[in-house]
C-alpha cells in the first residue's frame, strides 16, 4: 500500500525521530511511504486557542498537501482527532463549503498509527523487539476522541522482550492541553506532578504514548526532576528491532519494583 505520512508540526520540528520511526516501521511492513512536502500543521493549536479564523488557511494547506494521497497515517491521536472533528467544522463556519467537504473527505482517509496498524493492516505483531520495562499512558484525545481503545496495548504486548506494566490512574489527563500548559501553568503542573508520580510508581524505564505532545510534557517534567524514566513514542518502540538496537539501549530498570 502507498502510505502518506503526516508527521505533525511538532514531530517535524522537535521530535523528528518519531516521524523517522513511523516511516521505518511502515516500510518494514512492506509499504511504500511518501512524505508529501507541503505539509505543516493540522490547525489544532489555532482552533483550540480560539483562532478558528486563522486556522482556515492552515486547514486549506493541509488539504492541499494531502490531496493526492490515498491513505494518510499520523503518529498523533490528537492531530488525527482534530482532522476528524475540527477541520471541516472550522471551514464550514468560515463559509468555505468546498474546503469543508474536501477536509471531511480527507479525514475519511486519515488514520492514527495504532488504528491503521490494527484496523486497516490487521496486524498486532509488527516484529518489534524492545527489551525494556514500559508503561503506557493513553492520551486523552486518543482515548476519548478517537477511541483507540486497547489497540496500542495489543501492539505493545506483541513486542519481544517488552515488559508492560500497568499505569495507575492511566486515564487521567497529564495536564498538557496545548496552550493550557502555559495559560494555566500551575494547574497543568499539578496534573503533571500526579501523572509523574503514577509513572514513577511503576518503576518503568520508559513511559510511552501515541502523542508526541503529551510525551514532551511528561518527559519535560521527568527530566526536570532528573528522573531515570524517559518518554518514548509508541512508533519508536514499534520500529525497534534486534538489528536496530544498540548495546546502550539494553537496560534494566534503574530501581527495582
Amino acid at each position: 500500500m502507498k502510505v502518506a505520512v503526516f508527521a505533525t508540526c511538532l514531530v517535524d520540528t522537535l521530535t523528528p525521530q518519531v516521524g523517522i520511526a513511523t516511516v521505518r516501521l511502515l516500510q518494514r511492513l512492506g509499504h511504500e511511504v511518501v512524505v508529501p512536502p507541503g505539509q505543516s500543521c493540522c490547525g489544532q493549536m489555532h482552533v483550540n486557542t480560539g483562532y478558528r479564523r486563522d486556522a482556515v488557511s492552515i486547514v486549506a494547506n493541509h488539504v492541499r498537501a494531502f490531496a493526492g494521497s490515498d491513505v494518510i497515517v499520523s503518529p498523533s491521536g490528537s492531530c488525527v482527532a482534530s482532522i476528524h472533528h475540527q477541520q471541516a467544522q472550522v471551514a464550514r463556519r468560515a463559509g468555505d463549503t468546498a474546503l469543508a467537504e474536501a477536509a471531511q473527505e480527507l479525514a475519511g482517509r486519515t488514520y492514527e498509527l495504532s488504528q491503521f496498524l490494527v484496523d486497516v493492516l490487521g496486524v498486532t505483531d509488527v516484529g518489534a523487539s524492545y527489551p525494556h520495562r514500559v508503561t503506557y499512558h493513553p492520551t486523552c484525545h486518543s482515548l476519548r476522541l478517537l477511541r483507540v481503545g486497547d489497540r496500542p496495548l495489543q501492539l505493545l504486548r506483541a513486542v519481544r522482550g517488552l515488559d508492560l506494566v500497568e499505569l495507575p490512574g492511566a486515564e487521567q489527563c497529564c495536564g498538557f492541553g496545548g496552550t493550557f500548559a502555559v495559560k494555566n501553568a500551575e494547574t497543568s503542573t499539578a496534573m503533571l506532578t500526579d501523572k509523574m508520580a503514577a509513572v514513577l510508581s511503576t518503576h518503568a524505564e520508559v513511559c510511552t504514548a501515541g502523542d508526541a505532545s503529551c510525551l514532551l510534557h511528561i518527559g519535560g517534567g521527568l527530566t526536570r526532576l532528573t528522573s531515570g524514566t524517559r518518554t518514548v513514542h509508541l512508533a519508536e518502540i514499534l520500529a525497534s528491532t534486534d538489528g536496530a538496537r544498540t548495546a546502550t539501549q539494553v537496560t534494566q530498570p534503574a530501581v527495582l519494583a
Binding site: A7, C9, D12, T13, L14, T15, P16, Q17, V18, G19, I20, V35, P37, G38, Q39, S40, C41, H46, V47, N48, T49, G50, Y51, R52, R53, D54, S57, I58, N61, A65, C140, H141, R144, L145, E171, C173, G175, F176, G177, G178, T179, F180, A181, V182, K183, N184, A185, E186, T187, S188, T189, A190, M191, L216, H217, G219, G220, G221, T223, R224
Partner: protein, 491 residues
C-alpha cells in the same frame, strides 16, 4: 456571531453587581492560591474519587445507559427549540391550579419579586431548599438587605452558610470541607450544640437536624428552586437526598419557587428519562431518596400560596448561540465536576461563580457575556472526561473551544497573542515559509550550548519552562531527513 446571523439585537446578559456569576480574579490567579492548599487538595481528591467510583458502578449496571443519555439529549434539544411555547403552557397550567407565575428578566427582577412576596406575607425569616438559581441571583443577600433572614436547610449548604463560606460544588456545596472542619464550624456557630460533638457523620447530621427542626416548625415562608417543571400539568419537582427540602416544600404557608427557564420538560413521560439519568450521575444512587412534586395549590394540604418565578438572567442570550445553547440542557448532576482533573485540583472557588467545574466554565461566561468571565473557557485541558460522563451528552470541550473563539473575536484591538497566532498561521499555510521558520527554530540550539534541553525561557514560554524542560531543537527536521534520504536534499 449567531445573534448577528439571525438579525436579532444583542440579547441581555446577567447584570453586573448582583448575584454570584463573576469572580474578582481570573481562574489562573485563583488556582495559583488554591493549588497550594494541601487540605483542600486532599479533601477534594478524596471526595471526587469516591463519588466517581460510585457513579461508574451504577451507570455500568444499565445496559441501555447510552440510549438513555441520547434520549435525554434529544428531549432537551427538542424542548429548547420550542421553549417559548412550553413556557406559556407551563404558565397556563400553574395558573389554572391556583399558583401565580412571575417572569423575571434578570437577577434584580427576581430578587425584587421574592422580597416583595416575603414582605406581603409578613415573613421575617425564610427557609430555603437547596437551589442553584437562588445562589446565582444572590437572593440571600437581597433578603438580608430587606431585613429578612434566610436559612439554608440543605446540610452542605448549611455548613457553607454557617461557615460564612462560598459553595464550591453544585451538588455538595461544602465538598471542600472534611468532617473535622465541619465539626469545628458546628461547634463554633450552633447556639445549643453539644460541646462533646465529635466528627462522626451521624452525630454531625443529628446536630444539623436539631438546629434545623426548630426553624422548619416556625417557618411560614419557603423558597425553593426546581429540578424540573412539567409544562403539561404545571407540576414542579425537587429531587433530593435529605428530606429537608420536602419539609420546606410542605410545612410553610407560602412557597416561592425560583426556576431558570431551561428547567422545563414538556410532559410527564420526559421525566421518566431524567429521573433515571440524574441520581445515577449525581450521587451515584439508583434512585434518590426524595422526589417531591407539586402543582399549584391544594386546599388544606401544603402551602396555600404558591408562586413560580421564571428566571431568564442571560439564558435567552445563551439560547441564541447555536453552539453554546447546549449548555442549557444541563440537569446539574455534577458528574462533570467529579471527573474533571482541573476541578479536582483547583477546587470550585477558583471559578469565581456558583457554577464551577466544566459546566461552569461554559455556562458562567455565556450568562454574563464571555468578556466578564474570559479566563473560564481556558480553564480546561480539553481532556474530554466531562463529555463522556454527561448524562445529556453536552459536548463541553467543543463549547469551551467555541467560547475561546468568541473571546478572541470580541477583541477590538490586536493583542500580542493574536498577532503571534496570525503570523504563525501565515507561515503554516505556506510550505516555503514554514521550512524557513523551522530552520529558525533550529537556531534555538544555540541557546542550549550543547545541552539536551533549553534554558528557562522568558515571556509566555516561561509558564512552560518553570516546571518542565523543553528539548533542544534537533539539528535536522523530519522533512529535512526525508529529503536527504530520498536524494533530493532540497528543503
Amino acid at each position: 456571531m449567531t445573534a448577528v446571523h439571525l438579525g436579532m439585537p444583542t440579547l441581555p446578559t446577567a447584570p453586573r453587581g448582583v448575584g454570584h456569576l463573576r469572580g474578582t480574579r481570573s481562574f489562573p490567579d485563583e488556582a495559583r492560591d488554591s493549588l497550594r492548599n494541601g487540605q483542600l487538595r486532599a479533601n477534594l481528591g478524596h471526595a471526587t474519587t469516591t463519588i466517581r467510583g460510585k457513579r461508574a458502578g451504577v451507570v455500568a449496571e444499565l445496559p441501555d445507559w447510552e440510549q438513555l443519555r441520547q434520549a435525554g439529549a434529544a428531549l432537551k434539544r427538542a424542548t429548547m427549540a420550542r421553549l417559548d411555547d412550553h413556557l406559556e403552557e407551563l404558565e397556563r397550567q400553574v395558573t389554572a391550579r391556583g399558583g401565580t407565575v412571575h417572569w423575571a428578566r434578570d437577577a434584580n427582577e427576581a430578587n425584587e419579586i421574592v422580597v416583595r412576596l416575603a414582605r406581603e406575607a409578613g415573613a421575617r425569616e425564610v427557609v430555603k431548599v437547596k437551589s442553584m438559581a437562588t445562589q446565582e441571583i444572590g437572593l440571600n443577600e437581597a433578603l438580608e438587605a430587606a431585613g429578612i433572614d434566610a436559612f439554608e436547610t440543605d446540610l452542605a449548604e448549611l455548613i457553607v452558610q454557617l461557615g460564612e463560606d462560598k459553595p464550591s460544588h453544585i451538588l455538595v456545596p461544602a465538598i471542600h470541607k472534611n468532617r473535622s472542619e465541619v465539626r469545628e464550624i458546628f461547634a463554633r456557630t450552633m447556639p445549643d450544640v453539644d460541646p462533646d460533638l465529635t466528627d462522626d457523620p451521624r452525630q454531625l447530621a443529628m446536630a444539623a437536624r436539631a438546629h434545623l427542626r426548630e426553624r422548619f416548625l416556625r417557618a411560614t415562608f419557603a423558597v425553593s428552586g426546581a429540578n424540573f417543571a412539567v409544562a403539561e400539568t404545571g407540576t414542579l419537582s425537587v429531587v433530593e437526598s435529605e428530606g429537608n427540602g420536602r419539609m420546606c416544600l410542605t410545612l410553610p404557608d407560602t412557597l416561592v419557587t425560583v426556576m431558570g427557564i431551561e428547567k422545563l420538560v414538556p410532559t410527564w413521560r420526559d421525566l421518566e428519562v431524567f429521573l433515571q439519568l440524574l441520581p445515577r450521575s449525581s450521587t451515584g444512587e439508583r434512585m434518590n431518596p426524595y422526589t417531591s412534586t407539586w402543582a399549584g395549590v391544594t386546599p388544606g394540604d401544603g402551602p396555600q400560596d404558591f408562586h413560580l418565578v421564571l428566571l431568564d438572567n442571560g439564558r435567552t442570550a445563551v439560547l441564541a448561540d447555536e453552539v453554546g445553547r447546549e449548555a442549557l440542557n444541563c440537569i446539574r448532576c455534577s458528574a462533570c465536576l467529579n471527573v474533571c482533573p482541573v476541578y479536582e485540583r483547583a477546587g470550585g472557588h477558583a471559578y469565581g461563580s456558583v457554577y464551577p467545574g466544566p459546566i461552569g466554565a461554559i455556562l458562567s461566561p455565556q450568562l454574563t457575556g464571555v468578556e466578564d468571565n474570559a479566563s473560564l473557557p481556558y480553564a480546561s485541558s480539553l481532556c474530554g472526561a466531562c463529555y463522556d460522563v454527561c448524562p445529556v451528552a453536552i459536548d463541553i470541550p467543543s463549547i469551551l473551544v467555541h467560547l475561546r473563539a468568541e473571546h478572541v473575536e470580541a477583541q477590538t484591538h490586536p493583542t500580542a497573542e493574536s498577532t503571534a497566532f496570525a503570523a504563525l498561521a501565515r507561515v503554516m499555510s505556506r510550505p516555503r515559509l514554514w521550512r524557513a521558520a523551522q530552520r529558525a527554530a533550529g537556531l534555538g540550539r544555540f541557546l542550549s550550548r550543547g545541552k539536551p534541553v533549553l534554558p528557562r525561557l522568558p515571556g509566555p514560554a516561561a509558564g512552560w519552562t518553570r516546571s518542565r524542560d523543553l528539548p533542544t531543537p534537533p539539528a535536522e527536521t523530519f522533512q529535512q531527513w526525508w529529503a536527504k534520504e530520498n536524494g533530493g536534499g532540497r528543503s
